[in-house]
């Protein structure tokens, strides 16, 4: 039962850490060009879902189909080559690599040297703050600058789909706004986005569709606009 419009499809995905189950039959779909957000309370399994997609958490059951190819048993490097980049929670820039080195780590799987150099330049024009700090250790950047770098680093892989994990976490409100603006812009330029975000209202305002996760599976899905008005979301977070 192929659904041709899906770029990424998760079917009955199960995964866990040792004895601890994290995903218990997750089903999810992202169409090309969409911005989909995945929301839910802490510990619901959102991060695990992204880690499973990018190959860091091998699923025990279920399928992950990306661009009509099953990738649930594929190594992270191959998944990245296939076109999925993952911008991890907490930014995770390499603190003792320079900004430029961090960017080239983003293009690690690419072989087209001259195109990479061009992309570094392009990213630097796009994020002038990174151009300024090019030779600085990434660990010396502010939180907001590190977030820019993490996003830019993910873009360096020239992905078709970017996974964002809690891009607003620990950032000042003004930085949060500009981060979301950048993500919206990335989508406008044609890259598909799947985003996990605790700031549910902000995420819903910018997304096309959204899924609400609870204990490892989807409990609610729909157009972001509808969910924004739905009291279920509040209940999922606050248990009211």
């Amino acid at each position: 039962m192929a659904q041709p419009e899906a770029l990424l499809r998760l079917e009955d995905l199960h995964a866990g850490y040792g004895h601890v189950p994290a995903l218990r039959g997750l089903d999810l779909l992202v169409a090309p060009g969409e911005l989909v957000c995945l929301i839910g309370a802490n510990g619901a399994g959102k991060t695990s879902a992204l880690r499973a997609i990018s190959g860091l958490l091998p699923p025990s059951r279920g399928r992950i189909v990306f661009a009509d190819r099953e990738i649930q048993n594929t190594a992270p490097a191959e998944i990245l080559k296939a076109g999925i980049a993952h911008c991890p929670e907490g930014r995770r820039v390499f603190p003792y690599l320079t900004v430029e080195e961090n960017l080239s780590m983003g293009a690690y799987v690419r072989r087209d040297r001259s195109a990479i150099t061009a992309d570094v330049e392009q990213v630097c024009t796009h994020f002038p703050i990174l151009a300024e700090r090019r030779r600085q250790m990434a660990g010396t950047l502010s939180g907001g600058e590190q977030q820019m770098l993490a996003i830019a680093r993910a873009l360096m892989a020239r992905p078709r789909l970017i996974l964002f994990d809690e891009p607003s976490l620990g950032l000042a409100p003004t930085i949060v706004e500009s981060t979301f603006a950048i993500i919206a812009d990335i989508r406008r330029r044609g890259t598909t986005v799947l985003m996990v975000e605790q700031n549910a209202y902000a995420a819903l305002r910018m997304a096309d569709r959204a899924y609400v996760m609870e204990t490892g599976r989807i409990v609610l899905e729909g157009a972001a606009r509808d969910l924004l008005a739905d009291d279920h979301v509040r209940r999922a977070y606050l248990g009211a």
Binding site: A77, G90, F94, P95, Y96, S104, M105, G139, R153
Partner: protein
């Protein structure tokens, strides 16, 4: 004063090779979290490869050192792939025990092949020392220091200027995220172990002709490498370089001014004191975040 200068110069020669040993071990320990007790055996291996190359196969000095590097790297790679890779998710003690086994096996293997009698490694340089003011130094020692500095510089280039070096540093700082960038952790580990072993082997090939080659020479070399790593901090290249030079000089001074019998105690004392007073190393900076 004249004596002091002489000690400093001798210490520098010794320290250069200690730095090589230390750089190799600090990468292996820091990046792979493997306490490599066999490190000194790669040093011994290097000395014997140099001996075999020069005395038996008639290679020239530089080629023999190159051969030691190649053999060290190959055996290091083999060691990682066959012994350490299957144990990557085991505790640090498990891999440590395996490396102790490798150490014993390699040392006694060398004993069986070469016998217990120390071998002197021939070299083409004149034995008469060059006298420069108050300092007398054998030409071989100058060559050894130059080559050691060259190797340290190339390690530095490899780590800081190549894609592999970048991947190694990234893996060291954040293994998960490095994997996310598509770095194959297994390949980085194998390369690191091969590289570290090659450096140890090079150190043995360099210092072997200065002293002698004998099967248990690696024991002290391991100890010195650990002292250097502890002085310099895990995974810290600059720390290992400076630590190696410091240890070499400290040993020369200790042997010269205290008692030559306690020369090797310097390394032990450094390990104990640094671990107790500043466990992260004298030149430590927080390399790992999170």
């Amino acid at each position: 004063m004249d004596q002091l200068l002489q000690h400093l110069v001798n210490g520098l020669v010794l320290g250069g090779t200690y730095a090589l040993l230390g750089i190799g071990l600090t990468l292996i320990f820091g990046l792979m979290n493997v306490v490599n007790f066999a490190h000194g055996e790669f040093y011994t291996l290097g000395a014997y490869v140099a001996f075999a190359g020069i005395a038996l196969a008639g290679l020239n000095f530089n080629l023999a050192i190159l051969a030691a590097i190649v053999v060290g790297a190959a055996l290091g790679w083999l060691c990682e792939v066959t012994l350490l890779r299957p144990l990557r998710n085991e505790s640090i003690d498990t891999t440590m025990l395996v490396m102790i086994g490798v150490w014993i096996a390699m040392q006694n293997g060398e004993l069986l092949v070469w016998g217990g009698v120390a071998k002197s490694i021939p070299h083409p340089y004149p034995t008469a020392p060059l006298v420069m003011g108050p300092v007398a130094i054998a030409p071989l020692r100058i060559i050894v220091l130059v080559l050691a500095v060259g190797l340290i510089a190339s390690s530095w280039l490899l780590i800081h200027q190549t894609k592999l070096g970048r991947a190694m540093r990234a893996t060291f700082q954040d293994r998960d995220t490095a994997a996310l960038m598509g770095v194959s952790i297994g390949r980085v580990h194998a390369a690191t172990f091969a590289f570290g072993s090659a450096l140890a082997s090079a150190a043995g090939a360099l210092l072997g002709p200065v002293f002698l080659a004998y099967p248990s020479m690696g024991d002290l070399a391991s100890l010195k490498a650990f002292s250097v790593v502890i002085l310099g901090g895990l995974g810290n290249l600059t720390g290992a370089t400076v630590g190696g030079l410091l240890l070499g000089i400290a040993e020369e001074l200790g042997a010269g001014y205290i008692s030559s019998g306690y020369r090797d105690a310097v390394g032990f004392v450094i390990i104990i004191l640094v671990l107790l007073l500043r466990p992260s190393g004298l030149f430590a900076r927080q390399e790992r975040i999170g």
